[in-house]
Amino acid sequence: MLIKERLSNAGIHTVLIAYSLLALFPLALILINSFKSRKAIFREPMGLPIGDSFSGKGYASVLSNSDFPLYFSNSLTVTCVSLVLILLLGAMAAHALSEYRFPGDTFIGIYLVLGIMVPIRLGTVALLELIVNLGLANTLTALILVYTAQGLPIAIFIFTEFLRSVSREIKDSARIDGLSEYRIFFEVVIPLVRPVIATVAVFSMIPIWNDLWFPLILSPGEETRTVTLGVQQFIGQYTVNWGAVLASLSVAIVPVLVMYIIFSKQLIRGITAGAVKG
């Protein structure tokens, strides 16, 4: 019995480790080669960056010569502002939907989550026209507004489901204490939804940081390029030095990675808290 259990345990870990290698190998390849000289990349793509083949030139040129720092700050601005708007406005709407009864509440509830099923990209043609008419073409504001609109439905859905599962007693006792509805939201509801904030943040942030479609269409200008678009155009010019391309890719990975590591514990807790139901 014990031997059999150990064997099956070993089998499970073999499968999981094998898949881990498959997931990690390509990433390791990028990281390793980003520290190598151009010659070494092509001579020995699998070799470690030690001795002769080590070169920090890629990173140096990315951080100094190119527009990369600008792209980076653009992406960071767009992602952070959108995320704050999605979380705040989403939680506000979810609070209204889960807390109060008012005429049309069911309709608005359904209306606001329709966007989960109907991707905003389908409206691109008219969206571009709208953005141009508003004078927002080639601005970061355009991206922020579009990403906020894109992220709100799933945020509202997750927050509403979660808030409905939370007991009303805390809110009612706050009301008896004479707190205004606004203070109840900021002082009672916001702390309450903390467990699912991570879930909403991760699910909203990844598609924003990594999006290629809207930057390409709404703000392709030099000044407003995001990292994803910048790297895409960078790779397009095949004469550039490979060290720099690989370094820029590695740098583009870091923020999402940090964010994920911060949130990953809460992410699973949030999903299992019943926030994402079938």
Binding site: Y19, L29, N33, L89, F102, Y111, A149, Y182, I268
Partner: protein, 316 residues
């Protein structure tokens, strides 16, 4: 929204207007309506117009007739549609079973290193498609990729083919890359659902003499069927819209070789913006987007009224 505020005002003498409801709801509703719902409806409207002198001219369903009637358009449409369907089927047959299997293994109680595995499996999902596309080109390119050398080293060098460059294998290669990247999302959803299966249910099955394998098939799987449905519809929607990014990054706007990886997203992009010799057309772009809208609507409808309803009946 306006009627809501109005009906509130009329009742002022009896109950105080609950302005705070409006304050909580208005910002989200406004941004969402202006930048998500309005553009989609406006695109549907534009699909009924054609370019005229300065303004669009109403043409009814002429654009759709053109899209499905003229071989030049219809061929492209059906080719993209067919590729999307293949993409969807392959994701359902390969990605989701892999995700389910990995999630089942991860959810084994007291598994050592579960958190580490979870993080690793989710890593590719965090990457930008641009990064993913480049990584796999670095691996697969016959000119500067590492596969040829690597396969020689393994002694199977003669099996190497430029998979991304061959019409026969480009789409399946793209699919596998996409699966490599996105397997983390269904995996997380399955994993969370499996963790939510009540401990007592599993314990009862164990007392009945079922082993781990059978507990998964007979007890856990039926309980997570709603999640399977959800993953199915998310795969469907993502496949018809998000697949643009990866294909555009790897194969470019022409979705080569010879349109063999063309999907609705790349087709829409070329139609709307034009590409190389082809001129962009706002109205045909809106028509392609609207056709895509109806395709997604059919899928969502089937899911809501067919799959989900049936699953809920089993569930209760």
């Amino acid at each position: 929204m306006r009627t809501l505020a109005k009906s509130g005002t009329e009742q002022t003498h009896r109950t105080p207007v609950r302005w705070y409801i409006l304050v909580f709801l208005a910002p989200a509703t406004l941004i969402y309506t202006v930048f998500a719902i309005y553009p989609i409806i406006e695109s549907l409207r534009l699909s009924l117009y054609q370019a005229g002198d300065g303004q669009g001219i109403f043409v009814g369903i002429a654009n759709y007739a053109k899209l499905f009637g003229e071989p030049l358009w219809a061929d492209q449409f059906w080719n993209a549609f067919k590729n999307n369907v293949l993409l969807f089927v392959m994701h359902m047959l390969i990605q989701n079973p892999i995700a389910l299997a990995l999630a089942a293994l991860l959810s084994i109680p007291n598994l050592k290193g579960a958190a580490a595995y979870r993080t690793i499996f989710f890593l590719p999902t965090l990457l930008s498609v641009v990064v993913v596309g480049f990584i796999w080109q670095l691996i697969l390119s016959p000119l500067w990729g590492i596969s040829p050398a690597f396969m020689n080293w393994l002694g199977v060098g003669s099996f190497f083919k430029p998979w991304l460059g061959l019409e026969s294998s480009a789409l399946i290669t793209i699919t596998l890359i996409s699966i490599w990247q996105y397997v983390g999302i269904p995996l997380m959803l399955f994993y969370a659902a499996l963790l939510n299966v009540p401990e007592e249910t599993i314990e009862a099955a164990r007392i009945d003499g079922l082993n781990g394998w059978w507990i998964f098939w007979k007890v856990k799987l039926p309980l997570i069927l709603p999640t399977l449905g959800l993953v199915g519809i998310l795969t469907y929607i993502g496949n018809f819209t998000a697949s643009f990014d990866l294909i555009y990054s790897i194969q470019g706007g022409l979705a080569g070789p010879d349109y063999s990886t063309d999907v609705m997203g790349t087709f829409l992009f070329r139609t709307f913006f034009g590409f190389q010799a082809q001129l962009g057309d706002v109205y045909m772009g809106a028509t392609v987007a609207s056709a895509l809208f109806f395709i997604i609507l059919v899928g969502v409808g089937l899911y809501l009224f067919g799959v989900q309803r049936r699953l809920q009946r089993y569930d209760s």
